[in-house]
Symmetry: C2
Subunit: 207 residues, 2 copies
Amino acid sequence: MARKPLTRPRKHASQERSRATVDALVEATARILVKEGFDKASTNRIAEQAGVSVGSLYQYFPSKEALVAAVIERHTRQTMELVQGTLAAVEHLPMEQAVRRLVAMAVDAHRIDPKLHRVLAEQLPRTGKLESVEVFNRENFVLFKAFLERHRGEIRVVDLDLATFVCVTSIEALTHTAVLHHSQSFTEEVFAALVEEATRLIVRYLQ
Amino acid sequence: MARKPLTRPRKHASQERSRATVDALVEATARILVKEGFDKASTNRIAEQAGVSVGSLYQYFPSKEALVAAVIERHTRQTMELVQGTLAAVEHLPMEQAVRRLVAMAVDAHRIDPKLHRVLAEQLPRTGKLESVEVFNRENFVLFKAFLERHRGEIRVVDLDLATFVCVTSIEALTHTAVLHHSQSFTEEVFAALVEEATRLIVRYLQ
DNA sequence: AGGCAATGCGAGCTATCGCTCGTATTCTGC
DNA sequence: GCAGAATACGAGCGATAGCTCGCATTGCCT
């Protein structure tokens, strides 16, 4: 009765040849997701695009969900690295400069692979949110809260959880919407202006 | 070659009996969407839930998309009425009080039918954004921009379009995320605090 | 009452999906 | 070079989807 599909790889690829197959499948999944969307991304089509047979696909991924999970995993990891790196680099900056860098980083993060990001953001939650996305969100929240704690002296005393929620949600929404829905109409100058505006939004909110 | 499915009703129901059928179908679609999600919402199931045959369903709706479009239409109209009403009621209030009312209204708007709203927000954009949603967003943008124009004296001079984008996007994201993803963990007091925080966020940004 | 239009019905067509399984090919260690 | 493990193949199964069409029923008008 409606068992949740597995998302772990079926077997560990030991030979070089099979590792290439796995990579090709993940890459093909990402490409098909972007080009056709989740619904049209059938396992047959993915296998074809990867230059691999369906049978081989199911040797390594027990379900379509597992393939998508692998794509999410990869994209999330890239993004997480950017987030962590920037938060570290910003550690000893005055708050306003730090926030500006963080907002700019959020724009960059959404630009890593905007089309894929959009598909993942808009077409997948149906499955009930893959775990790695939840982990990413939580991690993000924790990291930003730590950032606020380090600047506690510079901000008014408030519920830090609530303040983190407000900041993270706003920055994410502004950069996400700008990059994924207005890239055509927003010039680079507009993006620069947006970074300034978002920085002002956050900094004045916190002070 | 991939013709876009029609979303307009196939025929105009003239007799009372058929109007009841159409209503039952739209209502059933909403119920199934909430209970089963978009993927499991088959036309057969919808017809069954409505107590109507598939044949009758296709007399009035040329495709599954058309049914969903009708549900979105209805939900959007309800929300739009709330937005317009509040913006009118707030017209002569001082800015901070006005913003507070608007934020509270945004929370209420997401509470009209949260489960349906969530399904519509998360599971549908795949089709490429139904037109009525685009219209809603644009309308929202225009209305809020007009609001800002009326308070131009109280806010610093800025790119009004950009400021509108920042405000609308932030308020929407904060209320949307709070209601649809944190309703369990957020008590009423937290929601009240959120309204205050969001108000502060917006007002201090504008000043 | 009779007849035409409006409405309602649902078995079943075609297409496609996720996925399996028996077989063919390639690689590794001896 | 050979045996067995690892890898790759792809026709095809069972399920389900969206949707059609021929026919039955109901309502409206004269």
